[in-house]
Symmetry: C2
Subunit: 254 residues, 2 copies
DNA sequence: CGCTATCTTGAGATAAATCAAAAAATGTGG
DNA sequence: CCACATTTTTTGATTTATCTCAAGATAGCG
């Protein structure tokens, strides 16, 4: 919203064409993770083109044809969601820097979900068939793709487990930790409205508000609007894991 | 356990070695879906060996090394689950005939979940690297694998969405329909205890019992112990979708 | 035939939903 | 830059679905 106030959070006119994977912030989380400079350059050459999207702009819509495209997030963050017959959003994920968009649609004709940028973002467009093709004599790439797929599968699995049995508090704690993960920062900007966050976690907006307030009062977080500072990360992790509320941590020493 | 009482539900000594994909019951749901006899035979030759597992026997445990193995379920059904640090099971899926076991572990070193047979089962052992290798000049196979992966991703995604916001009734309805799906039969055998079913859906055993009873009383199901007959499938689908309880179905005609 | 698991059933507790309204933030156009 | 419309958030009061706890019934199993 107010990026304009912060001078160049993203350089305004950096040339998308001149970007390469070598100097990418996502190099260690993206397809290039763990690769040497040579392999990294090879991946870089597979990028068809790069796109800049502004906050709120859609990358693709639900039921749009896929055409074998995948998009790596070079910077920024996205909101993926489905629209139910009833017409409301179900958020399916919040991929950020280094993630691949469109994995759930590989091998299918149309997208099963929509993706829109929650912040100004830069994407690297890839062709899935060409990636497969390239993977034949580029084992590191093939392995990395496999790994990213199984990671995604594991993430969804974890999410399902998480949503199935947890309290509102645990869900919120988990959610914040996931948001903070990619940058392992202590300061998160929640990219969703309270209502959308609730939708994602299976809660209502009111409950999200109340839980955040509670954690704020317990000095685990400092909440200001969409901005959350993780004051006591340890405690937050305990809460996410479902540990009993506020015990002197003496039990660890027993 | 008591298969011995039912004469040859599965032929007792049918030779695992002589089995082929051509005559497999899962031909249309497995890797071979949509293939002609020639391609089907090609897939068949990729099977390293076949295994018979008895009810309750484990195929693999959590944290066991993967060694690039995948298992196609030729017949039977499995229960996949994780063990939480606290020591209780979280069921992650109930794959049956035609499904691939171990997809969530491709490209990883160890299994993230355990798989045990809920009924006597026959499995076809495959090597993931060899499948990939074979896929290079066997496009139909490569396409099918991709499709199965993205299907699995979509399934998990659907599960997560489902668990996040649904009522107990919706969850149970959905669960039964999923169970009945592979054979599109009207008669399901619940492979799990009430407690495990509850674990899967994020409910308690008591709630599972009560919901089944309720659906029984509404004449949507006929429940007898682990055996469930889907009396009114249409209604069950409505309930799974979250349609308002018991309306004269006149609204369809309006 | 008893032993143990699992299932059912009930009564009471509770977390979160719902409903509703006020307060704050955001966006718009003059 | 300010008044106004819209959206989002907060907060409260009440309701409800589901959990918890617990006891009794049933089925599976040696």
């Amino acid at each position: 919203m107010h990026q304009s106030r912060l001078p160049n959070v993203v350089p305004l006119r950096s040339d998308l064409r001149s970007m390469s994977c070598a100097d990418c912030e996502a190099r260690q989380t993206c397809l290039t993770a763990g690769m040497d400079d040579a392999d990294c350059a090879r991946v870089s050459r597979l990028v068809l083109q790069r796109h800049r999207l502004l906050r709120g702009h859609a990358l693709y819509q639900m039921n749009e044809p896929v055409r074998g495209r995948l998009y790596a997030i070079r910077s920024g963050q996205f909101k993926c969601f489905q629209l139910t017959p009833a017409g409301d959003q179900r958020i399916t994920g919040l991929p950020s820097r280094g993630a691949l968009l469109g994995l759930d649609a590989i091998g299918t004709e149309v997208h099963t979900s929509a993706a829109t940028a929650t912040t100004e973002s830069v994407l690297c467009e890839l062709s899935h068939p060409r990636l497969i093709e390239a993977g034949r004599d580029f084992p590191a790439l093939a392995r990395r793709m496999e790994r990213m797929l199984s990671k995604e599968l594991a993430r969804q699995q974890g999410l399902a487990l998480h949503l199935s049995r947890q309290t509102a508090e645990q869900k919120i704690a988990h959610f914040l930790l996931e948001l903070a993960w990619p940058d392992s920062t202590a300061s998160v900007t929640m990219p969703l409205t309270r209502r959308d966050t609730g939708d994602y976690l299976g809660l209502t907006d009111a409950t999200v508000t109340r839980q955040l307030l509670r954690l704020h009062r317990q000095c685990v977080l400092r909440v200001d609007r969409k901005h959350v500072r993780l004051v006591n990360r340890r405690r937050l992790e305990e809460l996410a894991a479902g540990n009993p509320p506020a015990q002197l941590s003496m039990d660890k020493l027993a």
